[in-house]
Symmetry: C2
Subunit: 154 residues, 2 copies
């Protein structure tokens, strides 16, 4: 299998029109399930507090060059690393993955807080967060917390 | 955008040939980056302890019927819920998402423990886990822990 075709099942609506790195914490997004799908797919999701959302970075040209390595945010003060050692948009596939807090569900609209997807982002999948799937005591290099200093502000 | 074509960038190799629900904790998997990609994409990934892996449930027929709701594992003792309120394979897109512990990297091979993907699973993306991306105090219904009682055994 060299490639796979995936369906976009929902779309993100929020007031974040510009692609920029920081200030995602207060962003409220509505994730609207497409008409092809029954709103029953969301039934019971309100019994969880958080979801993981897999979405498409649809604003980037699919043919743009992805380097093998780069400095995070092109900042030479942080180490040059392979792109798979960073959660940036510079991955071979343009897909984002973020946890968000569930604020409510109304029919086919799931409202969440803290999703770092711009308005109009297509959604591929939504999974409830199970505690047993969280990593046990994860470790990371120093630069990550510096990079994310203002990421969840807003 | 109704669908998107994604590349499979790597393949999972392990000794789990059968699709079954439990006993994933001890499974060691090698994730081998395809020859189209430079092994430099993994550079620095060893400075993290965990990755998230997005992979394809390639053993299921893409045309199989996905219900809107079901009982987890078809067990009537657990509530009938929308499929997006469960982390099962019964989602509109056949994609899995799991955290795994990094054991080592050797060239284009990333070795991990605890990935719940069968041998041969195509991989779409790998992201290092950033603590700042983990959910804060997630809550879930009671049935989840019952369901996962033996999931990470093995």
């Amino acid at each position: 299998m060299e490639s796979i075709s995936l369906k976009t099942i929902a779309t993100v609506s929020n007031n974040r029109k510009d692609i920029r790195d920081d200030d995602w914490g207060a962003i409220i997004s509505e994730i609207t399930l497409h008409e092809d799908y029954s709103e029953a797919l969301f039934e019971g999701l309100e019994t969880f507090s958080h979801v993981e959302v897999i979405f498409v970075f649809h604003r980037y040209d699919v043919d743009r060059h992805i380097p093998a390595t780069r400095h995070p945010r092109n900042n030479p003060e942080w180490p040059e690393l392979g792109v798979l050692a960073q959660r940036s948009t510079h991955h071979p596939n343009p897909i984002g993955l973020t946890s968000a807090k569930i604020l409510g569900i109304d029919g086919r609209i799931l409202t969440v807080q803290g999703l770092d997807a711009v308005n109009g982002s297509p959604v591929l999948d939504i999974k409830p967060i199970y505690k047993e799937f969280l990593p046990n005591n994860p470790q990371q290099p120093q630069w990550v917390s510096e990079l994310l200093k203002d990421y969840w502000q807003g």
